[in-house]
């Protein structure tokens, strides 16, 4: 549907990203359409659309009303009638649906006034939450495919030079300069070349690429089509994680619409260049996010990586020169081509240009998707945008870069985030996961958890990764069970180094990061587990004993109510007592107590 609406038309944007859908936004959208149907007698001209993810998932389902610039949070079907009657018909605000700023305790009318959005700079996510991902017309209304029109007037080399000058580096993790990659592929004599979009996002808690594929599929296509002009490719593939149903639906629709409009297929826009894109669904293996494994998987083989002494730009898919970039990288291309390299390069740090999308999750107030200029500090992301730590607890660490990233401690909170600073700190950018951990997190258990994940997700091809992770996991498990030995930490470091150097692919080379970074910054916590048989965070069950501090406990009874094994007793308004015999060390009382009266021995 075209947005040929008058300025007075009320535009109602319902967030239908996966997070909001899970909270019932589709029902809200349907109810709104029902209540605003022409036969209901609503006199105001309205236009509703379902958008992609707004990123502020904590507050979903979100409903935005334009031109009034009103943002309603946690909207339920039952709220729709009031929205129509009060806000749409009479312009009244519904206070209970507005966001309440926890600092000023005041209700905020628009999301534009909230720190979560004010501090962001959106390039890759520029359309998401604003446009209807199912409508190519909406994309065109927002300037879509203008970059392609411009690219058609440029020579292939000019396009590549523009991307090189922008300083864009691959957003999938390794941070390789995108333009250099294209140049290398364009220079290959082999005429058949391929373009691949890596949408096999597998990091736990990460949904950057998902959000782009679901919320703005055409931007990915436009980026790929521009690259096809630059390197002379005739065929492209989008490899999408199998679980991303909505992304696959929206991309499939976008590809069909782009074909109908002449942006894809034979003789694009009437020119002597043909390019088409096909979607490949992943098989559910995390390792297929690694580019050579992904290529092997598209070829129909088991997704095992290969040594990259010859890059895919020379020998990639079916042995032909291939450019493979991540979803977010593709989303930046139309902006660089349309607005010029200088503008893009003016954002970010010396060696990392532009912005980066992070999925901010864990023990942070505002979980969601944020896009900030490279060089923004962790503190700004976690405290200014993220709103700080849940329940006002203390920050302990943030894990960046997915399961094989490292954990960064509090004294590095002012670290300016870019590709190089994170690597120096013993972590990595990865694809942009940010998992915030509070004081109730055991860093040994965190390392064990990620190694357990990687033990199942390593492809198992090379010995250092497969057997090294197995042995490191064995050591971490016994430390968590209180059976650690003094020599264990040296052995972890020794094995970690072997994995870093000898593993075949980046999964194995980075797999020791969670262990080595926690050993670097939280070594004493490991030592306490081994030497004192104690888990200071109260997480490792075999090493934890909870007790009630009688000085603090006011006998509110919240712990008693939540204890699953009735191990806590005590009179109302009197200090309570935990029976160590009955206690299963689940930590429920510790987490529930509002007065920090439960302590860890």
């Amino acid at each position: 549907m075209m947005l040929t609406t008058s300025p007075d038309t009320k535009k109602i944007l319902v967030c239908c990203g996966t997070g909001c859908q899970a909270s019932g936004s589709l029902e809200v959208y349907r109810e709104l359409n029902k209540k605003l149907a022409p036969d209901t007698g609503v006199q105001v001209e309205t236009y509703t659309k379902a958008t992609g993810c707004n990123g502020w998932c904590e507050q979903g389902p979100l409903v935005k009303i334009l031109p009034d610039d009103i943002t309603y949070c946690h909207v339920a079907v039952a709220d729709v009638e009031a929205i129509v009657e009060k806000t749409i018909k009479n312009g009244e605000l519904i206070k209970k649906l507005l966001y309440r700023d926890p600092a000023t305790k005041k209700q905020v009318k628009s999301h534009h006034e909230i720190d979560f959005y004010k501090k962001q700079h959106k390039i890759a996510l520029r359309h998401i939450g604003e446009i209807d991902p199912a409508s190519i017309e909406d994309y065109l209304d927002w300037g879509g495919y203008q970059a392609l029109q411009k690219a058609l007037t440029m020579s292939p080399q000019d396009i590549i030079t523009e991307v090189i000058r922008s300083g864009l580096r691959g957003r999938g993790g390794a941070g390789f300069p995108t333009g250099i990659k294209w140049q290398s592929c364009a220079g290959q004599e082999e005429p058949a070349k391929y373009i691949i979009c890596n949408g096999d996002e597998g990091d736990p808690g990460a949904f950057m690429d998902r959000s782009i594929m679901e919320g703005d599929p055409h931007t990915v296509l436009e980026g790929m089509i521009i690259a096809s002009l630059a390197i002379g490719a005739g065929h492209g593939f989008i490899y999408v994680r199998d679980e991303y149903e909505l992304a696959i639906t929206n991309l499939t629709r976008a590809i069909n619409d782009a074909r109908i409009h002449g942006y894809l297929g034979h003789n694009i826009m009437g020119r002597d260049h043909s390019f088409d894109i096909e979607i490949v669904r992943g098989g559910g293996a995390f390792v297929c996010g690694e580019e050579t494994a992904l290529i092997t998987s598209i070829e129909g083989n088991v997704g095992e990586p290969r040594d990259k002494y010859v890059f895919p730009t020379a020998k990639g898919l079916w042995g032909k020169p291939t450019v493979i970039n991540n979803v977010e990288t593709w989303a930046n291309i139309p902006v660089i081509v349309k607005d010029g390299a200088e503008k893009f390069a003016s954002i970010g740090t010396d060696k990392s240009k532009g912005t980066k999308v992070f999925s901010l999750v864990g023990k942070v107030v505002n979980t969601g998707l944020v896009e900030v200029p490279m060089g923004t500090s962790l503190r700004e992301i976690i405290y200014d945008i993220g709103g700080g730590i849940l329940k006002g607890r203390a920050f302990k660490a943030v894990q960046t870069g997915g399961p094989s990233g490292g954990c960064i401690p509090a004294d590095l909170l002012d670290l300016k985030v870019d590709f190089d600073s994170l690597t120096e700190a013993g972590s990595m950018m990865g694809s942009g996961g940010l998992i915030v951990m509070d004081e109730h997190t055991c860093m040994v258990e965190v390392a064990r958890y990620y190694l357990h994940f990687l033990a199942g997700e390593s492809c198992g091809k090379c010995v250092p990764c497969r057997e090294g992770i197995r042995c490191m996991l064995e050591i971490l498990t016994r430390i968590c069970e209180g059976k650690g030995e003094a020599a264990d930490l040296d052995m972890l470091e020794d094995l970690g180094k072997t994995l870093e150097i000898a593993s075949l692919c980046a999964l194995g080379k980075t797999a020791p990061n969670p262990v080595l970074s926690t050993l670097r910054y939280f070594r004493s916590e490991y030592e306490t587990h081994i030497r004192d048989h104690r888990c200071p965070a109260g997480v490792c069950r075999s090493l934890t004993e909870f007790y009630v501090d009688p000085e603090i406990c006011n006998g509110c009874g919240l712990c008693t109510k939540n204890c699953p094994v009735n191990a806590i007793s005590g009179e109302k308004k009197e200090p309570h007592l935990i029976s160590q015999e009955l206690c299963i060390r689940c930590g429920e009382c510790f987490n529930r107590c509002n007065f920090m009266a439960i302590k860890v021995k």
């Binding site: 199942g456 390593s458 020794d494």
Partner: protein, 247 residues
């Protein structure tokens, strides 16, 4: 072209792997998963060597690294020796039942540690059996699962219909991890029983019927009606040649 390996100048063919170059020059680089018939896959990582190019050093797998520049190579450095020792230690821990790994564990001077051992296991997942089966044109076995659950198996771990019981997998296995039991006329391998055919000359049981049928289907020159074991076949050929020479 010429490259330097351990301070020695050696001849190399552009594009061949570093392992091939070294082997031709008689320079030893240890391997566990490599076989000339299939080329390198970079699985065991025992062949890691240090390559220096334009003053930059990096550690690469010799079995997959192509020689395209005049590089300088070291096949043993403290870092590489450590990697090899750790790899042997890791493989010994997961396949302690293998006599080869037990020997290597001692040879590489691995110090014992408290990590668990599996005395029942011998497989090091080198993939040679799978490649050999594939090369023969059967593909009855493959690597299944991933990560620490990876293993070699027939489909659904049941007797594979396509298996011809030739035993190539068992013979190529460097660690003796594939049990193949020949008892009288019967061979059992991968949970499947086969009838063995005896040699017309010496009477020894030498091949399964399925194997002979398969070989005849891919090699028209093979006459399966004259059932001769490898030794007797050689003898027969030798007799023919000597007759020809005499006459």
């Amino acid at each position: 072209m010429k490259i330097i390996i351990n301070d020695q100048e050696v001849n190399a063919v552009y594009g061949e792997t570093l392992l091939e170059t070294s082997r031709k020059a008689g320079i030893h680089i240890p391997t566990l998963c490599y076989h000339e018939a299939f080329g390198g896959e970079g699985r065991c990582r025992m062949c890691m060597v240090e390559v220096e190019k334009n003053g930059l050093k990096k550690v690469v797998a010799a079995c997959t690294y192509p020689v395209t520049d005049e590089v300088s190579v070291r096949t043993s450095t403290p870092v590489i020796d450590k990697i090899r020792r750790n790899i042997i230690m890791l493989l010994y821990k997961c396949a302690s039942g293998s006599p080869l790994l037990q020997d290597l564990f001692r040879e590489y001077g691995c110090s014992d540690n408290s990590l668990q051992e599996d005395p029942e296991e011998r497989c090091i997942l080198c993939n040679l059996c799978v490649k050999a089966c594939e090369e023969i044109g059967i593909s009855a076995i493959s690597l299944i699962m991933r990560g620490t659950d990876k293993r070699v198996a027939t489909p659904y771990s049941q007797a594979a219909e396509v298996c011809i019981g030739c035993g190539t997998c068992a013979r190529i296995c460097p660690t003796g991890a594939i049990p193949m039991v020949d008892e009288g006329r019967q061979r059992t391998i991968w949970s499947k029983n086969f009838e063995l055919i005896s040699c017309e000359r010496c009477g020894s049981f030498f091949a399964t019927r399925e194997e002979l049928t398969h070989m005849a289907s891919v090699n028209e020159a093979l006459d399966i009606d004259t059932c001769l074991c490898e030794n007797c076949r050689k003898k027969m050929v030798a007799e023919k040649i000597s007759k020809y020479n005499c006459s």
